[in-house]
Every structure is written in structure tokens, then in C-alpha cells.
Symmetry: D2
Subunit: 437 residues, 4 copies
């Protein structure tokens, strides 16, 4: 079967400590339970992958699966355990960008790290899991507990990246490997049964509004502090832009008309030769997915478009993108539970079904906002190397909101701020339109 | 003598129509007078330059002086006259980036346009001036008049660019040419006589505040519409960061400490090998200016630093940059008249003198803000190709405020938004600090 | 244990057909025996490597081990079997550069081919081996037999490349993996026991001389036809340049003196920042080898230097490189048997021992000649895609002679022409000096 | 009128010392006369150019006209006068690549040297001319005389480069400036009156032959020493490949068939997007010349093709390029006088007329040979910095023979070796075919 599972079984390391994902549990989970679950969930994503699949890197922005496995482990080793479990050199190899704790290995060369082997990385994971779980048996001082929590959230982010990075890698191969078949009940249909939801613009919430996170639950530093903002009158689309709509934009010469584009966007279109979303066939009829090559569903949200493309599409449509404040003020946290998340086993966005209110704010596709990623007023990064987590990226990137079909459901909040460069396309990124109200 | 003036005299074209700059005039100037004055002012900047000096291009972001002369003329030809005065090909050569009126000549190859010659470009200017001034003798329909006004403002922007681009060109030559000697009265002293103003942080204006331009005077579309914004409590530095302060940052290892930098900034530091402001000598004691190489005045504002450097310096200093809303709410338009502008003939920032309130918000150096350049709520670009003026650049750049010693005084407002990429350094860019209030 | 050997055993494919390398045999080997031996020898080189080790690519010029395994197999499938054994897509993946039989997969992206897996590639090898060996049981038509012979020689070339490419990959890792420990008897000593051979120049053979291959044994098309050439009077060094001598060149400022370098070489020194041979430590005392990091033996031949470095060293030494005609006229085929080859298990050059005549022309290090790689008079490439083997590379490269410690002994002839770009360093390349006679 | 001539007149410098080109003279010219003539000839080429035309640089391989004027002068200052006439910095600016006499200014930035101005450079020329001519009034020691001779030859080389560099510059402008109109008698006809010479292959000279220069006249070091070589039996084409023939190659898919190309050549075709000779229109019917855009003469030699294209064309034609030894053994020095040279005023190759023997070996187009540029046996570069003239370029380039319509007639010999990189196209380069005999 080729996966690493067999290796782990032979090595017999640690895994018994971690209950399988999805196991019933009564009441809110303890930190230890949540730790074990998320660590296990990461491994579950690797089923069916060979050591080679998990070791290659297809572009500087992506990382090998094995590196994700090791890096998330290093995070706990570095910031929770505080003692070196792995060899010294490993710390350098699996540090992503924390310059304060040693010079990281070059990001664009992670695919060259054939050593340590997958088996060694799995053993490293198991050893760190043992130690962290032992720690969690005791009472933890608050800072260390908060680092465990941060590590769990971090683990979930890398679960999503693991999937998007793997998709990009597999897309490079003429063999177009299938990562996993969709569950029979949830397969993305070649053409959605629904006739599609008519695009409508509904009134959004405006005026002086408090934005950002406050309260007991976990949130990243970049979602804080909660603060007042002035939100202009606007209307919000009832669903994301669909493949059919985006195809119309293409057929209308969208990629050949400079007046529709930001100056930097037009330069990128010409430089990179873009004429369709990433992973679409040149005939605009099929797309490569984690379930292999499939027909494009006209009613499903368009996906894998850059900020430049989202902005150009909106201009073509006579609309605009929303600011992240508009988005947040319009989002209903109660909708998270009904979103399409990774747990569904369908790793591709699907069409909205019920035509009630504003749909699909959560799950399916991350939604580009028109907001450059920057600090909230009185933003304070955490003290120490953990403070490098978010703040130092507040330049040149744009905020996306709402999570995707590759996000773990428990990871996303209405205040959650994701961020990528305007030319990035390999995440599950889509378009939510707005207009002035 | 080598300048192009002689050529113009021989050709005897048009110049008599334009009164010399600085001529006394009573009462507010007519549009025609302002047109003539600004067109003349551009030419005055070229005194002492050879045709060769005016034809070379030192990097893709800069343009040859001759190109500035032609491009500003093309702007009036295209948007005011509406008829072709020059040869058809010229329109393509001197269109900067207006994709809707023809495919512009490659921006990074403007230095290869040895034809038309300087003499031909000067004749082209004279011919267009004749036609525009003739037009201004009559009553203009409002849209055309507004395009003349836009063209004058555009002319002024290129006057500043002409100076900064020329400075960059001259800095490439081992001969380090002097563009112009400073007036004897206003020379930047090798070391300022003042002892320097102690850095202090004064209370800024906060709360819900209206931002942007409204009213009868000219403003660019990107300063509009006026709208309410929420400004957080903050304090503002009484003056820009000085050379002495910046030197301390350098000596404290500022360029070698990744924890001080944005991630993109640190990448740029390593890629470009930055270890000091553009134009500083490696000994940190002299700098190249439009007046030749001079000693660095410790008390003058530091200049020619990127956004990345401004941000890193602020972090090192335990402060931050201001948002553009904070800057605008703190700026007093009454201070414009006392600023240090291009008209002084001193093309380099000088030290503040009087220690009263917040100094040097206007003139001396453009001040980087922490605000990514984006549209104000309900922003509408102008209809037609003129709409490409500002809007399509609202991505990836940062706002600077307040004008510089190379700006024409009459060009700047408290709502004025300049914008450059975070790695740009060749404008007169400096640092104004702020702190949370 | 992590190697792929276990996998093969489990899969149980084909291997029994191939006798282990080194098995005693009486009389000259049949084509089938030679085929089986060399195919087996390639696999033997992979002992101890993990699937990940065999899948990564460290630069465009190198290929993953797995790709070498598959490509050499494709060669037999394409040119000997003539029927498709593998899936259609595989042919494209494992075609290196034969444009006439389909568009090859991008050379610099071979590390992204995680599929087919190592196990699949090994099965592919076994299947093709079965078919080729079955074919060899029968009488083959001469052209097909000659393609089997060509495939065996090709297999041997890739055995050497497999080693040099792997060395380059392992050198990128901070972990500096050991590929294999040297046999206890043959270990490269930290410092050679010998005192080193004094460098002397011995008279070479000159005048009109026949160059190139003629006769019944195998030779590549680029060694043919045999033809008269005029060889000038010259003297040849008794041994390759040693590490000690090269270190003296470095300490004498060799890498800082442009007058010693070809113009292109000096440009490369500055561009790439070269200041020592590839794999040497900056302290010039240790080097990375396939046996891990070892002390540099002063008396062993210097290795992993480019043509530019070889040429600069020669100029510094008051000598020059030999032409390939001079080299060939001076080489004694009888010395091949006493050379240091891959079969020794010592994958690194070692010091010459006996001071008699001209030593080490064969084995240890490939010797750069001053001859640009070009066609011999009346050179005819083979008909069909096999004709792309050599001829289309006759531009921009230089000839090297004599084989290395990574070459199979049976592969090298005195007429053998290897060729690489003047900036290449990752092969076992060294320096043989000459002077005018 | 815009040319610099007026400036010279005003400045009144030196020019009277130099007799106008073409002036009658009886008997062989003295060194002083030849010096004066060639220095004057360089200036004559600049008639009609503006200071701007003479200051721009269109690619790293080319230089501005003004730089050529200054560099050739610096050569005499440095190697003949031996005292500094210009400012110290100028020596650095106008040193091309002589690393032993100071670090040259970056070659790809020569277009930024707006200072010294053209007028200053002309004065510098005049001053150096005065001094050199004064020197030549006296008896010179032999080494200095030989440096004057070398400087004159060097001046002639730069006369040709000045033309080819200017052509490249003018070709970048949409205005397509005409450098000079052809003399009425010698204009390249839109279509040649001749019906074209049928291509025939004539027997060449083979066997052991002496190659290279020997004797009293001037020759560069790279043409020496004369030495025996073995030339294979071959036949040589009676004229260069014509535009009509090359067009047939294009229409036959020449640029789309990888099997016709060297591996490096095919990579360059794809990288640079080549599909026709430099300066040809995409319709293959007109070409840009120093006389402006003209119809392509089907019978004239094809021009501005790279080595890669010459080699691919030859392969397509079932022929090959000649080695430089074959070329030299077939060339008749007596044909030089009847060649088409720069002095004709027709700066573009024209069709052969008389169908007798081998035509156009000299003049019209440089002919690519299949010989990589390398040292002749016992080659010795001159001592000192002058030794950098040729030897350090003996890597990566190919030899061209015979001179072009842009070469001064008196500059070319049958032993003359020109050399360029295989991707270079901006010289007047063409194709002479050969076949095995």
C-alpha cells in the first residue's frame, strides 16, 4: 500500500497514546485530548502517501508533507518542552522562520532534506507527543498552557497547508495522482444537481462597529485587540462567485483587458501568462483536485484565484471586494457549524444549496478582502520568538476570511484573519462580491 | 556651456509666451497664468543639464529628464487638446501607463529613446503650450478645464520626479556631478548650527474624525471622498528622525538584527545588501546630494530610507509609524507656508530650528505612514483613461504624507497622498514616529 | 533499515535473474551476462538509500537516483524492446533529452516525480530486464545488439552520475550524511602515508598522430572516426595536481587575481563567490565526500574544480592544460588496469604511490583538457533518435579524459571523451598540467 | 542640424591636424598618417548623430558611440603616452576590461555616463591626438611604435563595433531612425537585379597546411604563431547562404524542429523566442538596416544570425560549417581588394555578382566557422596589460572569418580571427557552408 503507516506499526512508537480521530467524547475536551486529536488528525491526512510523496517540494512557498510533520513537532519541542529532544541540527532544519531561535534552513530547499527519514520524523513526533502529554497530566503554568494551545492551532494551520501543498505537488506530475477518493455520499458532482443560486446583494451591517477578538476563547494576536471601526454602508453578495460566472469573465476577455486590472496585477498576468484559475484545463472544462481531475461544476465557487484576479473580476462585474471589517460585521458565527469543512472528506468547494440569506461565509473557499494585512490599533505581538508568529508578515499581503473546505472546522472564527500575497493562488481562495450600499 | 538653453534660443520657440517663474503678480492667478508658470518651472529645472544628462535612465523606476518633458506635454495633448500635435509614434513613446489610449513603450527602456532629440521635444512643448494657452483664452467647458488643472498638478509631480530621477542618475557616476549649487544663504551646513531639537512625543488628535478632501480646491481622486474614520489615541513625534538618530540605529546593529524587521524587509536587506540609507558613504559621514557630496548633518532629517527601514527603525526605537489618518488629523494646513520646499533652491532636507509644537510635517521629507495605499470608502476613479491616474496603483504600496524639499509648495495639501513601494528609496523619504496614546 | 532492498525482496521481482556482481566467471562475458551484471551493479549502488534519498534533486544538472534507475530502463525499453512496457506517460517522464521520441519532462523538475514510486520503478526495471534477457537468449539482429551494447555503456555512465548527483544532494544537508563507509583496507587516510610525488614534466608524444577509435570493440560515435592530427611538442606532468598544490594557489590569492583567469571564468568567480573547490570547508582543511566529511589529504589529487579553476591554476603555475590530442597520444591503455576505479569501494581520489613514469592518467579524477568538445573530421551521428546521444552537445563544453574513482573500470578507454561545461564542478574533475616541449 | 560637428568647430580643437579621410596620398602611408586617418575616420562615422544618440546603450554587449570615442583614446593614453592626460576617474570609466590597470567601470552601465559630455570627450580625443602625433614626429622605440600600431588596429575594430552597436540601438526605437542614406550608386536594391548565384560546392585545399600569421605585417597575437595543421578533405560553397535560402529554412519549420539544433541552441531558441534573424520583420519581407527599413533582397547574404542558427541551417541543408583551418586554407588574400567593405558607404551586405570561383570570402558578412576560439600551439599573449587583449577570451566563443561590410578594408587579413559567443547576433554575421570532400 505504500503509506508510512506500516512503518509506524513496525516501529511501534507512541501511537497508542493518541486516540483515533472522531472517537466519541462526552463534554468539552481537555487540552490533552485536543492535543492528541489534532496530532493524530495530521497523521491521518498522510494515509496513502509514500515517503517520496511526503518529501518533495514543488515551489518555494510550499513545504513537503514530511517537513510539516517535523516542523509542527519542533514547535512543541521549542516553545512547550523547552528542551532539545531531537538532534541539534534538526532544530535548524525544522524551524520555519523564527529568527530569534536560530538561523532557519533555506525555505526553498526543504525538498532536499531526505534525512531525517520519514520513519525518523514519525519517531520524533511520537517522542515529543509522549513528553507533551506527560506534561499535560500535570498542572501547567499559564504561559506554557497557552503555548500548547498555540501549538494546537498551529498544527491545524499546517494540516490545511499540508493539503494545499500536496495538491500543488501532485498537479506538477503528468500522472495527476489522486490524493483520495471522495466519500460516496459527498462527491463533488461533475455538474451540480442544483440549478445554482441566483446572485443577489443583501444589506450589510454598517456604522461604528467593534472589530476583532475579545474574550476567553483562543484567538491569534493578529485578531486583537477588539477595537471600534467605522464600517461604510454596503451590500454583500449572497454567495461566492461561481465557476460559471468566472468562465463568463474569461470568455469576455477578462485576461486580455488591462483596464480591468490593478497595475501590479496586469504585470503579473503578462509575466506569468495567466489566462484562467490555477488547475483549470485550457479548455475551461475540467480542473485538477485532490480527488483527481474532475469536470468543473458551474455552480460551485470558483477557487484558486489570486487577489489580482478577484479584484479584476469584481471590477468587471461592476462590484468590488469587501473590506475585512465589512466582512466581519456581516458574518454570523452561528453559520460555522453548517459550513463545508475538511472533516467532510470532500476536499473541494461545492455549490450552495439553500437560498436563504448570505450563504457560505464559512468553509468552501477563503474569501479575499480588499484589506491589506496590517496591525489592529494597539496590536502587541507576544514577547519572545513566538511574537514572530504573525506581526512580521504585516506587509504586502491581503486578508482572507472564512476558512475553506481544507480547514478544520474547529479552527475558524468570524474574527479569524488569514493572509497571503496578492499573486498567491495555491490556497483554496475564492471571491465574495460587495457593492456600496 | 552645454545646457539645452542655447538650443531653445536658436529655435526661438514659444518661450516668450511663458513669463519667467517668480514674476510678481497681483491677486490670484488665472488658470492660464498657472499653466504658463508651471510649464516654465519645469524647464527652469533643466538649466545646466546637457542633452546627454537629460536622456539617460538609471533604473526602471526612473525616467530621463527629456522623457519627463515630453510625457507631461503628451498629457496635455492627449487629455486637453484631444488632437494629435506630435507624430503618431510619439504618443506611444510618451504615454506612461494609460493602457486605454494605446500600448505604452516599455517603461524600463526610456533611456533608449535618443530620438526625438531634446530640441524636438522642446519644440513639441512650445507647440502644445501655444495651443493650450490659446484654448485658455476662451471659455473652457468644465471637464476640459478640470483636465488642464489635472495636467498642471501632474506637471508638478513630474518636476519632483525629474529631480529625484536625476539625483539617482548622477549618483551612478564616479564623477558625482553637482546638479546645482545651493543659494549662499540656504546651503545645508556640513553640520547644522542648531544643537538639534530633542525628540518629544506630543498628544495627537483622536476619535471619530473626517478624513479626506472636500470643497472647491483641487484634489486628486484618491483623496476623496471625505469620510468618517476612527482614529485611535496616539502621540506624535515633534520632528522627523534625524541622521544622528538613524546612525545610532545602524551602529546598534540595526541592519543585522532580523527581529527588528518585517519579513519582507529582512529578505530585501539580505537580497540588496542594504546597510545604510541610499546615497550615504560606507563610513556614514558623507552623502551624495543634488548639491554634490556633502557631510551628513546630524540634526537634519534622515532621508532616502525605505518603508522597511522606517518600520525597523521605529521598532528599534520602541515606537511605530503613524497611520495616514493619524497623520492627517494631526497636521495643521497652516504650517504649509513655513515648510522647506523646492522653491528654496536647497534640494536637501535641513534641520528644524524652532522648538514649538510639531515641526516639519510639511516639506523636507515625505513621511512614511503605516497605511497601505487603498481606496477610501465610495472612491470613484474618473471616467475614461484619466481614471487610470491613481486607482490602479492601490496595491502593494504605502502612503507617504507631507511633501519634501523637492516638492513645489503650491502642490501639497494636508490630505495629499503620495505612495511608493516599501522597497523604494530614491524619493526624499523620511521617518515620523508615533506611539500609542 | 530504510533501504529499498527490503521492498524488492518483498515484491520478489526479477532479481534472481541477475547474478550478484563480482561472481566468478570463466572466459569473456556474453552480452547477456554483461547486461545482467551492469544492471545489478546499478542497484548495488543504492544499498542503504531510502526512497526519499533516491527521489530528491539538488540542482538542474543532477537527477534523482530513482530517475537514473528509471531512465536507464527506459533506454532499453525505447531503443531495444521497441514496445511500450510502462505506461505511456512514463516514457515522457524518463526520456532525458531525445526530442525525436517525444517531448521530455522538464529536466529541472525531476525531483517532483514522486510517482511512480521507487517500488514501481524497481518492478519496471525487473520487467524490462526479463524481456531484454529473453531477447538475448535468441540471436539478435546486429542493430539491436548494438543498441543493447549502447544501453550497457549508457547504464555505466549513469552509475557514475548517480554517485556524483547523490554526493551533491547529501552535501546540501547540514546533517552531511555518509553514503558509505570505505573498505577498511582502502580508506582515504586523513593524511596520506606517502610523502607525495614530486611534480615533474616528462616528454610527450608529438608529430602527426592518429587520434580516435577504430576497431572491433565498443566506442561512442564521438570517439570516431580515427583520423590524423598534428600534435605539438610538449611535456606532460607525471601526476595530477594535488590538494597541497591547489591550496598554495588559494593562499597565493589565486581567487582574487583577475589576471590569472579567463574572462568568463573571472565573471563566474565573482558571480558564484567561489574561493575554493566545491565541498572544501572554508578553513581549507576538510572536505565532504561520499564517505562523509574527512580531512583533506595534501598528496591526493585536487578534485571538484571547474575548467576555469583548472585553467587559472595552470596559468598561475606557469604551465597549461593539455589538448585532448596530446593527452591521448601520451596515454598508455595498459595503465587502465592499475587505475583507481569505483570497484575499489573508495569513492574519492587517493595519492599516487609509485614514482615511475606518468601516473594516474586513468581513474582517480577526470582531467580537464584545453579542447572544446567538437566533432572529429567526418563525424557522423547514428541515424535516428540514438543520434542525439552525443552530437548535439558539441558546443560550449570541454573534453575531459581518463575516468575517475567513480567510473566503472570496464567503461573507460584511452579514446574516451567526457565533456562538461566549464563552470561544472560536481563531477570528480581534476587537473593534469602540461608545458610546451 | 543636431550633430556634434558644430560643437567641434566651436571648440576648434585639434582637428586640423588630421587630414580628411580619402585624401590622395602617394606611396605607403607613414604611421603618423595612418594614425591620423583612422582617428579621423572614427569621427566621420559620427556625422549626423546627436549627443543623445551617442550616449545611449541598448544592451550589455554594446557600448555608446561616445564611449567608443573615449575608450579608443584611453587606449592610446594608457599604452602609448603612458601619462595621464584625462582626469584620473576617466581612466576607470573608459578602460574596457584591462583588469591589470585598474578596475573597469561596469560594462552594462556605460549608458549612464552622461559626463564627461560629448564635447569634453572630443576635446580629450584632440588632446591625445596632439600628443601622439608629436610623439610620432620623433623616432619611437619599437615597443611604443608597436603599441601605436595596435591602437590603430584597435581603433578600426571599434569603428565596426560603433556601427553595429548603433544599429542595435536604433532598432529599439519605434521611430526606426535612418543612420545614413546609401550612396545613390551603391544602394542595396529592394530586390537585387541579379538572378542570384546558384549554390555550388567547390573543392577546398586539404592535407598538412601551415595556418596563422608570420612575417613583417601587423597581426594580432591570436593569429600567431604560424603552425602546421591537418586539414581534412572538404568542399566549400561558392558564396554565403542567401536570404532566400534562409527564408526557405524558416518556412520549412527550421525554428520548430529540435533535431536540427545543438542542445544549447534549442534552449536559446525557446528562451529568447527566436523565429527569424535579428532585424527581420515577422512577415519575413523587410529588415531594419543602417539605411532604415528596407525590403529583404533574396539574393543577398543572410545576416545577423547566431552560431546556433548557422549550425542549424547547415544541418537542415545537409551540409556543415567549415573549420577555421579549412576556411583559411581556401581563402585567397588577393580577393580582399574586391570585397564589399565599409568604405563603400553601403552598410549592408549585397548579392554576389560574378559567378567565378568562391565569392565573397572577404567583406559582406563575417562567416561563422565550426571552430571554438582557442589558442594556437605555443601561443604567447603579450607581456603586461596588453596581453589581456585576446587571450582571456579563449573560452566559450566561436571564430568568424573574413570581415564584413562594416569592416575597414585595410583591417582584414586571411588569418584574421574574430570571435563571438554562439548566441550573439548583432554583428554582421552570416553563413558559409561546406561539405566533406
Amino acid at each position: 500500500m505504500g503509506g508510512w503507516d506500516a512503518v509506524v506499526m513496525e516501529e511501534g512508537v507512541g501511537r497508542t497514546l493518541i486516540p483515533p480521530h472522531g472517537e466519541a467524547s462526552s463534554g468539552p475536551l481537555s487540552l490533552a485530548e485536543r492535543y492528541a486529536r489534532q496530532r493524530r488528525a495530521t497523521l491521518d491526512l498522510c494515509d496513502g502517501l509514500s515517503a517520496e510523496d511526503m518529501s518533495a517540494q514543488s515551489m518555494p512557498q510550499t513545504s513537503p508533507t514530511k517537513w510539516h510533520l517535523a516542523h509542527t513537532t519542533w514547535f512543541f519541542e521549542q516553545f512547550v518542552l523547552g528542551v532539545r529532544v531531537s538532534a541539534d541540527d534538526w532544530a535548524r532544519l525544522f524551524n520555519s522562520y523564527y529568527e530569534q531561535v536560530g538561523r532557519p534552513f533555506a525555505r526553498d530547499r526543504r525538498g532536499l532534506l531526505t534525512r531525517p527519514s520519514l520513519a525518523e520524523v514519525l519517531a520524533y513526533r511520537a517522542r515529543v507527543d509522549d513528553l507533551v502529554l506527560a506534561l499535560l497530566d500535570r498542572d501547567l503554568e499559564p504561559e506554557r498552557a497557552s503555548h500548547v494551545e498555540l501549538g494546537i492551532q498551529h498544527e491545524q494551520q499546517h494540516q490545511e497547508l499540508l493539503l494545499t501543498d500536496l495538491k500543488h505537488l501532485f498537479a506538477q506530475s503528468p500522472l495527476e495522482p489522486v490524493f483520495r477518493f471522495p466519500p460516496s455520499s459527498g462527491a463533488p458532482a461533475p455538474a451540480s444537481l442544483s440549478n445554482g443560486l441566483r446572485l443577489r446583494f443583501l444589506p450589510g451591517t454598517s456604522g461604528p462597529i467593534d472589530i476583532g477578538h475579545e474574550g476567553p476563547g483562543f484567538a491569534f494576536d493578529n485578531e486583537q485587540p477588539r477595537h471600534p471601526a467605522m464600517v461604510a454602508r454596503h451590500r454583500i453578495a449572497n454567495r461566492p462567485v461561481t465557476n460559471a460566472e468566472y468562465r463568463t469573465f474569461i470568455l469576455d476577455g477578462g485576461y486580455r483587458r488591462p483596464e480591468l486590472w490593478l497595475s501590479d496585477g496586469w504585470a503579473e498576468v503578462r509575466r506569468a501568462g495567466w489566462d484562467r484559475p490555477l488547475y483549470w484545463s485550457s479548455e475551461l472544462d475540467t480542473e485538477f483536485t485532490l480527488h483527481g481531475r474532475v469536470s468543473i461544476d458551474p455552480h460551485a465557487p470558483v477557487c484558486h484565484v489570486s487577489y489580482y484576479e478577484a479584484d479584476a473580476f469584481a471590477r468587471w462585474a461592476g462590484a468590488r471586494l469587501l473590506t475585512e471589517q465589512e466582512w466581519e460585521s456581516d458574518a454570523d458565527p452561528g453559520d460555522i457549524a453548517s459550513g463545508h469543512w475538511r472533516e467532510s472528506g470532500v476536499f473541494h468547494p461545492t455549490a450552495a444549496i439553500r437560498d436563504v440569506g448570505v450563504r457560505q461565509m464559512f468553509g468552501d473557499v477563503w474569501e479575499w478582502t480588499s484589506s491589506a494585512y496590517s496591525a489592529y490599533p494597539r496590536f502587541r505581538p507576544a514577547v519572545g520568538a513566538v511574537g514572530e508568529y504573525n506581526g512580521k508578515f504585516m506587509c504586502g499581503q491581503y486578508v482572507l476570511r472564512g476558512g475553506s473546505c481544507a480547514s478544520p472546522e474547529s479552527h475558524i472564527r468570524s474574527t479569524y484573519r488569514n493572509f497571503f500575497y496578492p499573486a498567491d493562488r495555491w490556497q483554496f481562495m475564492g471571491i465574495r462580491l460587495g457593492v456600496d450600499g
